[in-house]
């Protein structure tokens, strides 16, 4: 399992990356991240939703309410241009971190 501190750092990038493919609800964001990371990245709700709210405050995402077939209200999150612009630098930052770690600690990509 990946350590908590590193997970926190990757969480924003992971959320932006799954939203890059299209708008999703909070539940689907968490599920897609868990699936794509093969369970290594799992969000508790206590971590996921405040993070979504903060990213929304920064203008990276926007959330819109919609009503599901069962009448339950839910929020659909969509990537905003500012969030899309953050993706490339964040990916480059993580890639350079991996390069450095590979040199220093002989860590290789999974």
């Amino acid at each position: 399992m990946i350590r908590t501190e590193l997970k926190r750092g990757t969480a924003e990038l992971a959320i932006l990356s799954v939203l890059e493919k299209g708008p999703l609800h909070g539940y689907e964001i968490a599920r897609q991240i868990a699936e794509q990371s093969k369970g290594a990245l799992r969000f508790t709700l206590a971590a996921l939703y405040p993070m979504l709210y903060r990213m929304e405050n920064r203008g990276w995402l926007t959330g819109a309410w919609e009503t599901g077939a069962n009448g339950r209200r839910r929020r659909c999150y969509r990537l905003m241009p500012r969030g899309r612009n953050m993706l490339a630098p964040m990916r480059e930052e993580w890639a350079s971190l991996f390069r450095v770690m590979r040199r220093v600690a002989k860590v290789s990509h999974a």
Binding site: Y27, T44, Y53, N57, G68
Partner: protein, 230 residues
């Protein structure tokens, strides 16, 4: 299926800091937990087990309440600043500048104005004497949005603040970027521009702002209830 809204509200309600969390947050969590529960039931879990499992996915309820409160407060602070300062200030600036443009493009002759001034000065003087009205509008809009005294003042004299900022920027650019020899030789000319376009209008705007600096009962209540409002 349980009433997720009640289950969530009960758990969040245990923590004093979580009391500010609104219905929307509860609705969002309820939607998520319901799906988790349905997922577990589809895999063969009993309903009671599925509910417990879903609730355990929240993690730290106290932390969740605190995190939401922080995120929400941050959002509200930003919205309040926009409503109480930026919108009234920008509305005042826009209205004041539009009025100046209208005056400058109007045909002024001596019969139409009750005072004698150079034709180029007439629109300026009319604009200056009408500035209290714009200051009053800015301060009123800020007060209506719940702005504190200092915010109303800033919103009311915003056109002058913006003009001062612009003039300082232009002067610094002329001095240090363009290295304009005229500006270097005659720095006092800057004052000749600042007074008619920033200082005098600020005084005129202030005349309109002053009546709106008095605290209303609502404003007093809001002021005592918030430690760092905008």
């Amino acid at each position: 299926m349980p009433d997720w809204n009640i289950l969530i509200t009960e758990r969040l309600g245990k923590f004093a800091l979580a009391q500010e969390i609104g219905d929307e947050v509860v609705a969002e969590l309820a939607s998520h937990l319901e799906k988790l529960c349905n997922e577990s039931c589809a895999r063969g879990a009993k309903e009671s087990e599925a509910i417990e499992l879903a609730l355990s996915q929240v993690g730290d309820w106290q932390g969740l309440g605190q995190e939401f409160t922080d995120a929400k407060n941050q959002e509200e602070r930003m919205n309040e600043r926009t409503k109480r300062f930026w919108l009234p200030g920008l509305a005042t600036l826009t209205a004041s500048m539009l009025w100046l443009m209208i005056l400058q493009h109007s045909n002024w002759n001596s019969e139409r104005v009750p005072f004698h001034a150079h034709p180029l000065l007439t629109p300026y003087l009319i604009w200056l004497f009408t500035q209290p009205l714009f200051g009053a509008v800015g301060a009123y809009l800020s007060r209506r949005a719940g702005g504190r005294r200092v915010t109303r003042l800033a919103a009311g004299i915003f056109p002058s603040l913006a003009m001062l900022g612009l003039l300082v920027f232009v002067a610094l650019t002329a001095l240090f970027v363009e290295r304009n020899p005229f500006v270097w030789k005659h720095p006092g000319y800057f004052a000749l521009i600042v007074f008619p376009w920033a200082v005098f209008p600020a005084i005129a705007l202030l005349v309109g702002v002053v009546p709106f600096l008095k605290m209303t009962k609502v404003g007093q209540a809001q002021g005592s209830g918030q430690s760092a409002g905008s």
